[in-house]
């Protein structure tokens, strides 16, 4: 019963059950398919509101905990719980899901039943990743998420969808399998030290692992998360996947899936292996900054709007990685807020590009121009979202970026300085794109008859716009929830768990037993 009454567990089970129920609806009943999918997504959002109201921002501890034994012989438990970071990310997921469903109504014309079921399964596993406190359960959701996303890209995607879907799956899987080996190692080391089998994160935090072991384990975890973030040079799957995915797929990829990588650092890699994290942090922050500059430059040279937004994600996530690797309260809290901001603004950008694509079936910047005359409402919304993405004060992007840059400047002055250059570049390419698409003469006759935003499009854009403005002027409700969790993360990262004796061998060769 607790499985249903606990809101976190309900948030995982509800979309999964709704996805299963969808599969039973006859495929020709288009209306009821759409209605059921939207109702399930909205209902999930309503349930998540209960998390928001019931959450105590003052506490740093995990809240809404559910701890049920699952596979006791291995010490695996269905252990859920959230802090401020997970709360914000879960809320982001549940907010983006009805938006994605609504945005797919006219775009998806084939096998709708499977499509909406995939979306809902994806939602269940994404929430599962953010809510689980058991390493095994985390890994299960982390990998399980690949199946629905793979089908979303591969079946309903663009012309190169097969390549993109395979690349997405294999990249992410190859990055994650070493994490599985590392998880097994951590758990068995804990078993050797404490005599109990457990995959529970709080129990594994602060385990006495040698510095050398931590190095390899952190590397295995960090690789999995770096692929997902994606950190330069592990980002090459992202442009393909984003461009080929259907609009809703891109929204969820950018809005939620990329966040899972950052979340992995925040929740697993750094707190589990703090000594190694300190060694790796400057390098990861450096890779983040390389990603900012590289992503911005590549985005600048794109002619395809969706590709540009995709590369801008590489840059934005680079800023966030810089923030979390600074271990500085305002930078980490800013990074958490920026996770939400990026989800909102990039999600909205993909939706807008998708709306244009549905009208004209092209995403090339040069095929547009002068849209301000025919689509004034669209142009206004596009402007707000663009400005939010480049971090204009008064909109959400500014708060997060400013906090990250101020905070990380104290730790990595040079890297933060270089990151500012990247932020400036983002203004250059985003505004350049905006100008070419919206202003200027109406060069193409086809564009003269484009209809402005429809009611449905307003419906799915409005919630995002509300939050873009709200976080911009009043970030406190969000920051105050993120801050205790961020402080907790910093405290965990400051622990020195490695025993002082440095000369301990780890049995990586396989033939020696510990």
């Amino acid at each position: 019963m607790e499985l249903i009454t606990n809101p976190l567990s309900l948030l995982i089970l509800l979309p999964a059950a709704a996805g299963l129920a969808l599969l039973l609806v006859p495929p020709e009943k288009e209306g009821s398919l759409k209605g059921l999918a939207l109702a399930a997504a909205l209902l999930t959002f309503l349930v998540s509101l209960k998390l928001y109201t019931g959450f105590d921002p003052a506490l740093a501890a995990m809240q809404f905990q559910l701890d049920k034994p699952w596979l006791p012989s291995f010490g695996i438990k269905y252990f859920l719980g959230i802090d401020g970071i997970s709360l914000l990310l879960i809320m982001l997921t549940t907010l983006l899901m009805p938006v994605s469903v609504l945005a797919s109504f006219s775009y998806i014309k084939e096998s709708r039943r499977a499509y909406y079921a995939c979306l809902l399964f994806l939602e269940a596993s994404m929430i599962g990743v953010f809510a689980s406190l058991d390493l095994f359960v985390f890994y299960m959701f982390w990998e399980g998420m690949l199946i629905p996303m793979y089908f979303l890209i591969g079946i309903w995607g663009g012309p190169r969808r097969i390549y993109a879907a395979l690349k997405f799956f294999i990249y992410t899987m190859a990055g994650s399998v070493l994490m599985l080996a590392a998880i097994l190692w951590v758990v068995s080391a804990h078993h050797a030290a404490a005599g109990v089998w457990t995959f529970s994160l709080p129990a594994l935090y602060g385990g006495a692992l040698t510095a050398q072991a931590q190095f390899w384990l952190f590397a295995a975890f960090a690789l999995a998360f770096a692929v997902k973030v994606p950190l330069f040079p592990f980002h090459t799957w992202l442009p393909d996947a984003h461009v080929e995915a259907p609009t809703a797929g891109s929204v969820l990829l950018a809005g939620v899936l990329l966040k899972m990588g950052v979340y992995g650092y925040l929740r697993l890699a750094v707190p589990l292996f703090p000594d190694a994290a300190r060694v790796f942090a400057p390098w990861l922050a450096g890779l983040g900054v390389v990603g900012i500059i590289y992503g911005s430059l590549v985005a600048w040279s794109q002619r395809d709007m969706k590709k540009m937004v995709a590369y801008s994600s590489v840059a934005h996530l680079g800023v966030i990685i810089l923030g979390i690797m600074a271990f500085e309260p305002s930078a980490v809290a800013g990074a958490v807020l920026q996770l939400v901001n990026h989800g909102l603004s990039t999600g909205a950008l993909f939706l807008l590009v998708g709306a244009l694509y549905e009208r004209r079936h092209t995403r090339l910047i040069e095929d547009y121009g002068g849209l301000a005359k025919v689509m004034p409402a669209f142009s206004a919304v596009f402007l707000i979202v663009t400005l939010s993405s480049i971090g204009l004060p008064g909109l959400n992007g500014f708060v997060g970026e400013a906090l990250i840059l101020f905070g990380s400047f104290r730790v990595y002055p040079w890297l933060a300085g270089a990151a500012v250059a990247g932020v400036v570049l983002s203004a250059v390419y985003m505004l350049g794109m905006y100008q070419q698409v919206i202003f200027g003469p109406l060069r193409h006759t086809e564009n003269k008859v484009l209809p402005d935003l429809s009611v449905r499009e307003w419906l799915y854009l409005a919630p995002l716009l509300v939050f873009i403005a709200l976080i911009g002027v009043w970030p406190n409700p969000f920051l105050s929830r993120a801050q205790p969790a961020a402080n907790n993360y910093i405290a965990l990262s400051k622990q020195r768990t490695a025993p002082v004796t440095p000369e301990v061998k780890i049995a990586l060769g396989g033939e020696e037993t510990r």
Partner: protein
């Protein structure tokens, strides 16, 4: 107290005895009663179902019978249940689509039952010599079954399988002869306590190679792709699930005689070579049955990795076998459903399956993702258990290689789903009414989906059984 083992043995042994009786019934009755011709399948299935109902939970003790030749314990009960279940599934497939020509129906079921009996004796064997006899009882019928259609691919498969299998048997006999000189008793307990000598090592190596042939560890896997491809698909499914199980159990018994040392080093290398080469060779396959054959070789490698986990590893092996069997029999059933000639469908023949038969494509994807080890399917849990034991015993390097190779395997398993979902069909598929093969497929698909998330019951059974080897 004397009463109990005897009464238990009577009921437990009634299973294989019934199979032998039914085998002869299938072979002989239709010769005398003309009207029974064509019903052999039903007789066989009925007998198997009766054998399953005879199945009784084993008391928690090990009884040895026939001077230690047979060991009855919860372990043998677990594996016999597994063997009967595999047999029943293969029988349903064979009834739905006969694998043998009309006039060989009787022989077909006779041979299948003999092979199943051989498997049951093999997993319960208490000494090496019984294990060898049982192995032959398992293998010889399968050589004949592979070629039962007397067609060219079938005969080729049977010939290759027989030649290499006979070679493997020869090695086993040689090894047993050497060991017999040193350990007159030849029981597994006696082998464990004997002195270590170079000659004994040679004997063990020969025996291990022989059983590695059956389990299909590289480099003893050469027969697998041809045999799986050329044999009737129902027989391939039986081979993949059962021969592997029998070989793995005996290999585990041999492995656990030692505590480290050269034998373990050899197993380490066998496991590494198997997972690496099988996964790379599978990448190039075009035929679905060949793909499944290489996948079966790769899974033998993962099972060998699990050996290093000690008791936990064996528990994982016992969980792994039914999970693997479900996925692979399911995938072979899909191949059977779609095959037009004897070599089975090519992977590209699955194009457009998702459009024409979405549920079938969904089930096939479940099998593929389970074989690949993607959560939340059962195959992931099986791999997880298998690897966790090995990591716990300090064999992290081995597990790292195995997980990397299972990332490679993703590519060829995904290729199947790509073809089904993302490529248009070459020709319009005729709508077919679902039959018994579909029933088997959906039953197994439900199995691979549920046995992972709800793996506790099966895991408890496996843990209980693993204590009695």
């Amino acid at each position: 107290m004397i009463q109990e083992p005897l009464s238990y043995a009577a009921s437990a042994l009634s299973g294989p005895l019934l199979l032998v009786l039914a085998a002869f019934a299938c072979l002989l009755l239709p010769l005398f009663f003309r009207q029974l011709r064509g019903t052999q399948g039903l007789i066989a299935l009925g007998a198997t179902l009766v054998a399953i109902t005879f199945y009784r939970k084993a008391p928690p003790a090990e009884f040895s019978f026939f001077c230690g030749a047979l060991l009855l314990s919860p372990l043998s009960a677990y594996l016999w249940a597994f063997a009967l279940a595999v047999l029943a599934l293969v029988l349903v497939l064979s009834i739905a689509r006969p694998a043998a020509p009309e006039e060989s129906q009787g022989e077909y079921y006779f041979l299948l039952f003999m092979a199943a009996t051989g498997l049951m004796v093999l997993v319960a064997a208490g000494d090496l010599f019984t294990a060898f006899i049982a192995l032959e009882l398992l293998s010889l019928p399968l050589y004949a079954l592979a070629g039962i259609r007397r067609s060219k691919p079938g005969l080729e498969a049977a010939y290759k399988y027989f030649m290499l299998g006979a070679f493997g048997s020869g090695m086993t006999v040689m090894g047993i002869a050497i060991l017999n000189a040193l350990y007159p008793a030849l029981t597994f307990t006696a082998l464990k306590t004997g002195p270590a000598q170079p000659l004994a090592l040679a004997g063990f190596l020969l025996v291990i190679s022989g059983f590695a042939f059956k389990t299909a560890l590289v480099p003893f896997h050469m027969w697998v792709p041809d045999a799986y491809e050329g044999a009737p698909t129902q027989v391939s499914a039986f081979m993949a699930a059962s021969v592997k199980a029998g070989g793995v159990i005996v290999l585990w018994r041999l492995f656990s005689l030692f505590n480290g040392g050269p034998i373990h080093a050899i197993f380490w290398w066998l496991a590494v070579i198997t997972v690496v080469s099988a996964n790379f060779m599978a990448l190039a396959q075009k035929g679905l049955k060949r793909l499944l054959a290489y996948s079966s070789v790769a899974h033998a490698g993962y099972l060998a990795v699990a050996f290093f986990g000690g008791q936990r590893g064996f528990e994982a092996v016992l969980y792994y076998l039914p999970v693997y069997a479900m996925a692979t029999i399911g995938a072979f059933s899909v191949a059977l459903l779609l095959e037009k000639d004897e070599k089975g469908p090519l992977i590209e023949d699955l194009a457009g399956l998702a459009k024409a038969r979405p549920w079938l494509a969904g089930a096939m994807s479940a099998f593929m993702f389970s074989l690949a080890g993607v959560p939340p399917l059962a195959g992931f849990f099986a791999k997880f258990y298998a690897f966790s034991g090995a990591v716990n015993s300090g064999y992290t390097g081995l597990v790292v290689i195995a997980v990397l190779m299972s990332a490679v395997s993703i590519y060829y398993y995904l290729k199947v789903t790509v073809i089904m979902y993302m490529k248009p069909a070459a020709a319009e598929r005729p709508a077919e009414a679902p039959g018994m093969i579909e029933a088997v497929i959906f039953l197994l698909a439900a199995g691979v989906i549920l046995a992972g998330l709800f793996s506790r019951p099966l895991l408890i059974l496996a843990a209980e059984a693993s204590r009695w080897f």
